[in-house]
């Protein structure tokens, strides 16, 4: 990397990172750690992108978009000493699914308790559940090396790609037949079909299948959704797969800790600094131009934005090959989810589990049956938000009392489906109608919820795009579908964080291995830029 002058900033930079989301910050921290002079440019007033905590209602802190953490790579936590910079992950131990008949299904932190609970619904499933969990853990371990490597290009004959392919091949060969077949099924089947092979209880399958649809424009019966199921199993906390947690201080605390680590290593972070375009000369990136007209030079420019925003708005079309631009346009992004954040005057009272109890410390899943979830998808398929949506809810203030004033609470409701394009388009009326649908669906299981709401924040995919810049409000910066994974993510031939513009790199969730607060793309991109990937 060559040193170059920056204009106006008073400091010269080797690398500019566009976007202060978690991946951009991770890239910045790793580059700074290697001694590079790094500048992060964030359009908003705070870092985090979709991983932010904001006091939308005075005294009430919302994890506005992303709300739980599991996938954040442990090597990043270690390399950047994130706990020393304030990262503290609290356990999120249970999942309770209320049912329409007044019953519920619960998964508790204790395996025996969970087995007994599931046995109420199906004695067979109760035992299958543990084996399923074990196997999914093994599968997550099996794909872990893939998550941690720069995808080799199978069409390339370069020594490095061939070596990478050999590594992948050897790795898969090391799996037993049974495990390899299972992995193949996970890559191709629908979540519902895959779960049918394991379980008979409908409410159990519905709740499990939810992990297969989160963030995607697929229903539980859509082929390919089983992979997303696995993606959500890859989270490791303390060596245990499939452990989910809540960051103390909300999701923004994760971003703040990465930003703090990056700063400690010498990176500069400039807020309220929107990048208008990437400067390109003779096929080479030379810096960026800000929306206010400022120009900043750097020989390395890294975009953490999604592929469409990066290549269709920041780079002039004339600087990119036509075929590449066509591929970018074909890249499937498709927003499918919304978010409702509630400031509450008290705790919701669920009909299935009245009063205050341990269930309020975990997730509540509105997924009473597979048909319920699939019908929610049907609405989206035909251009509407789900009238009865799938919802994943937590009460952050119960886990971390600092999230709300004493005695008050915040509730985070992830909602699916809310397609990015609905018939007639998103406007204020439809946003409120969507918010009403969410509260109605919630009230079916916790009737007191309406009386508790002090204020609500309803975020449609259009709002998510407007605030964070994520195209179509897609939380993964692009569908996690087989045709867009590994050496195809984001685009065939461009999976190694490079772009057709020399010196311009990509590091967001749109790159391998994809979304969730994982940071893997940000880390791999930085190592690739530094030439440190084997």
């Amino acid at each position: 990397m060559t040193r170059s002058r920056s204009a106006g900033a008073g400091r010269q930079y080797d690398a500019i990172i566009i976007g202060g989301g978690h991946n951009g910050l991770v890239t910045a921290a790793y580059l700074a750690r290697a001694g590079r002079r790094v500048l992060v440019l964030e359009r908003r007033y705070l870092v985090g992108g979709a991983a932010v905590t904001e006091e939308v209602v005075p005294g009430f802190k919302f994890s506005v978009f992303s709300y739980v953490v599991s996938l954040l790579r442990p090597e990043i936590i270690r390399d950047l000493s994130l706990p020393a910079h304030g990262l503290e992950v609290l356990p999120l131990e249970s999942t309770v699914t209320p049912m329409f008949n007044g019953d519920y299904l619960a998964a508790w932190p204790d395996a025996d308790r969970t087995r007994r609970e599931i046995a109420r619904h199906s004695p067979r499933d109760a035992e299958a559940y543990e084996e399923y969990g074990r196997l999914m853990g093994l599968m997550a371990m099996a794909v872990k090396p893939i998550i941690g490597m720069v995808p080799p290009d199978p069409t390339s004959l370069s020594l490095r790609d061939l070596r990478g392919l050999l590594k992948v091949g050897r790795h898969f060969q090391s799996l037993s037949d049974r495990h390899f077949h299972l992995l193949y099924k996970l890559m191709t089947m629908s979540a519902a079909d895959f779960l049918d092979e394991w379980f008979e209880s409908d409410v159990l399958k519905a709740t499990k299948s939810a992990s297969g649809i989160i963030g995607t424009f697929m229903g539980p019966r859509t082929p390919g959704s089983a992979y997303v199921l696995l993606h959500h199993y890859m989270g490791e906390i303390d060596g245990a797969y499939r452990a989910w947690g809540f960051a103390r201080g909300g999701t923004g605390a994760i971003s703040e800790s990465i930003a703090s680590a990056a700063r400690a290593m010498g990176a500069d972070i400039r807020l309220d600094a929107e990048v208008a375009r990437v400067r390109v000369r003779d096929g080479r990136a030379t810096g960026v131009v800000l929306a206010n007209g400022d120009e900043i030079e750097a020989a390395t420019v890294v975009s953490s934005l999604d592929p469409r925003r990066t290549f269709l708005t920041l780079v002039a079309e004339s600087d990119l090959p036509d075929e590449f631009v066509a591929d970018v346009r074909r890249f499937k992004i498709r927003g499918s989810s919304g978010k409702v954040n509630l400031a509450l005057s008290g705790l919701p009272d669920f009909t299935c589990m009245p009063g205050v109890g341990p269930h309020l410390r975990g997730a509540m899943s509105i997924s009473p049956s597979l048909e319920y979830v699939e019908r929610a998808y049907d609405d989206a398929k035909y251009g509407s938000f789900s009238r009865q949506p799938y919802m994943d809810m937590i009460l952050p203030s119960v886990i971390d009392p600092g999230m709300a004033p004493p005695g008050k609470h915040v509730m985070s409701v992830f909602v699916q489906y809310a397609p990015s394009t609905i018939t007639g388009g998103w406007d204020d009326t439809r946003r409120e109608a969507f918010g009403d649908a969410v509260v109605d669906a919630l009230a079916a299981f916790a009737p007191n919820i309406r009386d508790l709401i002090i204020q609500r924040q309803v975020l449609t995919p259009a709002d998510i795009e407007r605030i964070t810049g994520l195209t179509e409000g897609n939380i993964f910066q692009g569908e996690l579908a087989l045709h867009q994974l590994f050496f195809l993510r984001p685009l065939p031939g461009w999976a190694q964080y490079r772009t057709p513009v020399r010196g311009l790199w990509q590091c967001g969730s749109g790159t391998h291995p994809g979304g969730g607060i994982m940071g893997a793309g940000g880390r791999l991109a930085a190592l690739e830029i530094l030439g440190q990937n084997a």
Partner: protein, 400 residues
Amino acid sequence: MTSALPGTPFHARTAPLVEGQTWRRWAGYVVASSYELHHDREYHAIRSSAALFDVSPLYKYHVRGRDAVRLLDRVVTRDISRAAAGQVLYTPWCDGQGKVLDDGTVAILSPELIRMTSADPGYRWLAANARGLSVEIEDASDSVAALALQGPNARTILEQAAGVALGTLRFFRLTTALVRGVPVTVTRTGYTGDLGYEIWMDAAHALSVWDALIAAGSDYGITPAGMLALDVARIEAGLLLLDVDYVSARKALIESQKSSPLELGLEWAVSFEKPAFVGRQTLVAEREHPAEWKFVGVEVDWESLESLYQDVGLAPRLPTTAWRTSVPLYERGTEQQVGYATSGCWSPLLKRYLTLAHLEAPYAEPGRTLEMEITVEHRRQRAVSRVSALPFFNPERKRA
């Protein structure tokens, strides 16, 4: 007559909370190992909100009279004569050969009333050293109940329960207060390395104080927590534990089992200027030579641990609770054992595998690489480990 061990004065409140009947013995009482089936949440409460511990089984002695200060000054290694009323001191105490008998706190309630806490019974040692002094020693172990309220929200909760401002109560100072009409002593102390207080009261009124704290703390995440959670926190805080990290000179069967305060990292707590205290002579002499042993932190390297497990096709197994066994430490790449770890845990907060260890002094400088024995699938392996300064965790709020 029942043969069951008694509960503490808080038993009526704690017993219904122990979901798995996971009790452990402590000084002739039973206390909760954990209240929930797993101690994770109880641990996190220490670091993120507030944990409430029943620490009543601690041995407690009241020393009254004109010579109370003189007695303590004679027994412990720190200088009590220069401490003011309202101060609390952590201190070890030694036998005549300067080997540690026990460690605990000395709270100066008034110029003529001192409360000493200890891990082992200490009445006889106090009495033996009181010859010629005008003091009265009372074993208050059963009559005084104690709670530890630890965590970032501890101050807010206690302020509300006691109706007093505690912002000016400094680290290792004490004050008195009324909680629901019950007189209590509040000390800014604890065994977690966090912001925290210990609350001392007449055992007869213990339940009122418990109820008041729970009521005041419900909006601030107060969580009753057991010994398993405490054990992790004290390792993070680098606080040693009698019978685990060291052997009392009173119980040692052979000389090498004994430790001097200098070998336990407690040199700071030895007041060499004091003209006389038990063990002084030996300690002064010992100070002239560098200690042969050091008590330090040793951290197990994650990549090394992971690769040992990867070799057998497993994800790394981390200890789910703190362990208390002696584990050999080796010079890197040789067969030479240079020390042993006595406590260890995975820190859920720091995401690091921490141990407390005794090392031969030449191997104890922070940053040095060693190897720790670790059993992976029934086979002895060695994981790369690194010496670290203690404490591992030391938040500003602890003293702020």
